[in-house]
Amino acid sequence: MTTMIAPGRAQAAAGRTTFVALAGREVRRFAVNPVFLFGVGMTAWLTSTGPGASVTEIDSANPLPAGFLGGFGMMAAFWLTRSMRDSEPVVGVTPTAQPARSAALCTVAVVPLICGVLTLFAFLHFYPLGSPVYGPFSPSARIAILAGQIVVPSLGGPLLGVALGRWARFPGAAFVLFLVIFGWVQLVTILTLSHQDSAPIAVLRLFSPFAFFTLHADAGGVTAWRGSPWFFLGWQLALCAIAVLVALLRGAEGRARSRIIATLSIAVATAVIMLVLAATGGFPHAVTA
């Protein structure tokens, strides 16, 4: 029995060592990517300049880190993933399977995640939880809004970039998706301005990796739109899980493929439930405070 188990353990240990080495290498490549560094630099600059006089509610300052860490991180991860495509005939015959290499690529999301967490702390310095820019949301909901608009997009953007890089053949897919998401978020936000209490519009607004929750009211104060920030956070995390699983699905075979597909279906179901809860939870209608 011992002689049968020992080779398996040794193989697993070797696999872990290979994975750690691969992940470390990919993280280094990602951390020095000029696109990502530009995003980090812009986030640092825009965050360090502090609150401007024009910031009357939190949503006028939050999209910048999401765009620069998440959006630019997505493009950097996409190019990082595609950069190995030409050498696939050579790399493909190595003992490390494509899903393992995809998993190593997914670990690069740790870098923007750390940047996102640091940005969150900077935001809490400039906009403390007691600040009126958050509107009528409770302190816990305010934390959820910040996490959902700064930290999770920083994590999800690169994961989406890896998944896209694994499946999309078009070399410009990343910036096209970036613009489509940007346009979608703007469109549904503008629609929400005129239909603040509509449930279908709330679903459309939250059906996105990023969503706004507040609006500066013309009469003064901040209007909080309907929707639960905590469940929206759950929806975003489910999207992150879907992105990882979709990336891993490429090149997976046999039992591993079946397991990934089964987990993917669970993640999709979770995402749908979270979206419905996010749209139906929170304030039942727009509230101004």
Binding site: M42, L64, G172, A174, F175, V176, L179, G183, Q186, L187
Partner: protein, 239 residues
């Protein structure tokens, strides 16, 4: 000559990105309140589509054929009609929906966006055979800067907003158009490092070296351009 050069273009990329731009612009026309946000996104996508018009996977062979960069670029410029037509379609849809846009400024912005993508691709084409992806991404990020960074929007505007104060987009686009024309003229005039190296009729040695480099991955592009059936036939003819 025109047919084969046009056939070799990256039409799926140009048409695909233009198609996405039409969808985004169509949403802007359908929801007039979102037009001032979605039209710049649509035009940035059209600039990206224009950047793919010069992609040439078989550039190692094509660049040493007797057809010079001026003629090739001129022929490929015909493909710009796709993003321009897509933009015109979006503006027409907006007009039919009754949007009150400054149409001259919007048309200028459309032409400027498309020409900017093409001009940057021309410049990068002197370095690489497939400038599309990198150029398109760079152009999109530059064009979206006013939308992404509020600090930039205070100084530069890339789309004419109706009745809004602040800087005019027309000055920006007239300047961009002038710079683009100069950049295109310089880059296709054979002054770029790569085309300068291949100026004049190619030597047999260069042709064979380049054919060997692309052998097996760009099988038919130069066949359309040169009328020679395959790399081995071309080598034989050159010998």
């Amino acid at each position: 000559m025109v047919g084969p050069v046009l056939r070799a273009g990256a039409w799926p990329a140009v048409a695909g990105v233009s198609g996405v731009a039409v969808v985004v612009g169509g949403c802007g026309a359908a929801f007039p309140t979102a037009a001032s946000v979605l039209f710049p996104v649509c035009f940035a996508l059209l600039a990206a589509a224009a950047a793919f018009t010069l992609d040439e996977p078989a550039s190692l062979v094509v660049d040493v054929t007797p057809t010079g960069p001026v003629r090739r670029t001129t022929i490929r410029a015909v493909a710009l009609l796709a993003p321009l037509a897509a933009g015109a379609l979006v503006l027409l849809a907006a007009a039919m929906r009754g949007l009150a846009l400054p149409w001259a400024g919007a048309g200028l912005a459309l032409a400027g966006n498309v020409l900017l993508g093409f001009a940057v691709a021309c410049v990068v084409r002197t370095r690489t055979g497939e400038p599309g992806a990198a150029t398109a991404a760079a152009v999109v990020l530059v064009l979206m800067a006013p939308s992404l960074v509020p600090h930039v929007a205070r100084w530069v505007r890339t789309f004419p907003a109706p009745g809004a104060g602040g800087p005019s987009s027309d000055h920006v686009w007239w300047t961009v158009l002038a710079v683009c024309v100069v950049a295109i003229a310089i880059s296709v005039g054979g002054r770029g490092p790569r085309w300068r190296a291949h100026r004049g009729r190619p030597t047999g040695v260069n042709c064979v070296r380049n054919i060997r480099a692309v052998e097996g991955r760009a099988g038919t592009r130069y066949q359309a351009l040169t009328g020679i059936r395959g790399p081995h036939k071309m080598k034989e003819r050159l010998r």
